[in-house]
């Protein structure tokens, strides 16, 4: 059944996989970051295609606006421009390749053999529902998790600051 939605899906898929692959193979680190960015955008588009606009937005804001930027900053911090990334060991490449193919095969086989029966219920992707659930403390609520993540982010922040903090002159 070919329709525009389907075609879009396959295109997006190809897009994100291709850029993903490029991101992990290119020897220019800056390019790798850009290809990653594209790949993540691909994922975000996939969410759009699934009618999950809010998730797509989060994906773009957090990933593209946050993480990738962070990565690029750290590349600036640690990398001398123009240098190629060091080559991986050939043996490791081969082994990794084999393992990945094996894993893909194994998981793929299980997935293929599994009969998925799509549910007829319509997925409620209303922002309101999501928002309600996010802060509900009932059985379907995620308030506790939400709080937990906030603590986690706090802890991560403290950790980052302490670690990345340059030594103050008196202590060095």
């Amino acid at each position: 059944m070919i329709n525009s939605g389907n075609i879009a899906f396959y295109l997006v898929s190809t897009f994100l996989l291709t850029f993903g692959l490029m991101a992990v193979t290119t020897r220019k680190i800056f390019r790798a970051a850009i290809w990653l960015l594209f790949s993540l955008i691909g994922v975000a588009s996939l969410y759009f295609l699934m009618d999950l606009q809010f998730l797509a937005a989060v994906q773009i804001i957090v990933y593209i606006g946050g993480i990738v930027v962070l990565i690029i900053f750290s590349i600036f911090l640690t990398q001398h421009s123009g240098e190629d990334l060091p080559k991986a060991l050939v043996s490791r490449k081969i082994i990794s390749m084999v393992m990945c193919v094996l894993g893909l095969g194994l998981i793929g086989k299980v997935l293929v053999e599994n009969k998925f029966e799509a549910s007829k219920v319509v997925f409620d992707s209303e922002l309101k529902t999501i928002g309600n659930k996010m802060l509900s403390i009932g059985p379907d609520g995620y308030a506790l998790q939400f709080e937990l993540v906030s603590i986690l982010l706090l802890a991560a922040m403290i950790g980052c600051i302490v670690i990345a903090l340059k030594k103050s002159p008196e202590q060095s």
């Binding site: 899906f9 992990v24 680190i29 295609l49 911090l77 990334l85 390749m97 990945c100 998981i107």
Partner: protein, 104 residues
């Protein structure tokens, strides 16, 4: 895209997963390894969302999982980058092969 078989979406996510894994295994630069982790997490996100939307639309667990994974990914990336920067300070390199004093 409601007609796309679920298995195709899953295949895409699994493939992305192993692309990430491959990168994680072969990239010697720590930052690129971190990028690979992001790819892996994204593939998992796709999984969750796809399962939620196609198989279990009556709840939002998968969706929320994705939200939280994104948050965690951010936190993890932040801490990892802090560590990498610290490592860079002491090793003057972020090649993972250079950081193997601890072994045997």
């Amino acid at each position: 895209m409601n007609n796309v078989p679920l298995i195709h979406i899953l295949f895409v996510s699994t493939a992305l997963f192993f692309i990430g894994v491959y990168g994680f295994f072969t990239r010697r630069n720590l930052i690129t390894m971190l990028m690979s982790v992001e790819l892996i997490l994204n593939s998992v996100n796709i999984n969750f969302v796809a399962f939620n939307k196609y198989l279990h639309p009556e709840n939002h667990d998968g969706l929320f999982f994705s939200f939280f994974i994104i948050a965690i990914a951010a936190a993890e990336a932040a801490v990892a980058i802090a560590i990498i920067i610290n490592l860079y300070r002491s090793h003057r390199s972020i090649d993972v092969e250079d950081a193997n004093e601890l072994k045997l």
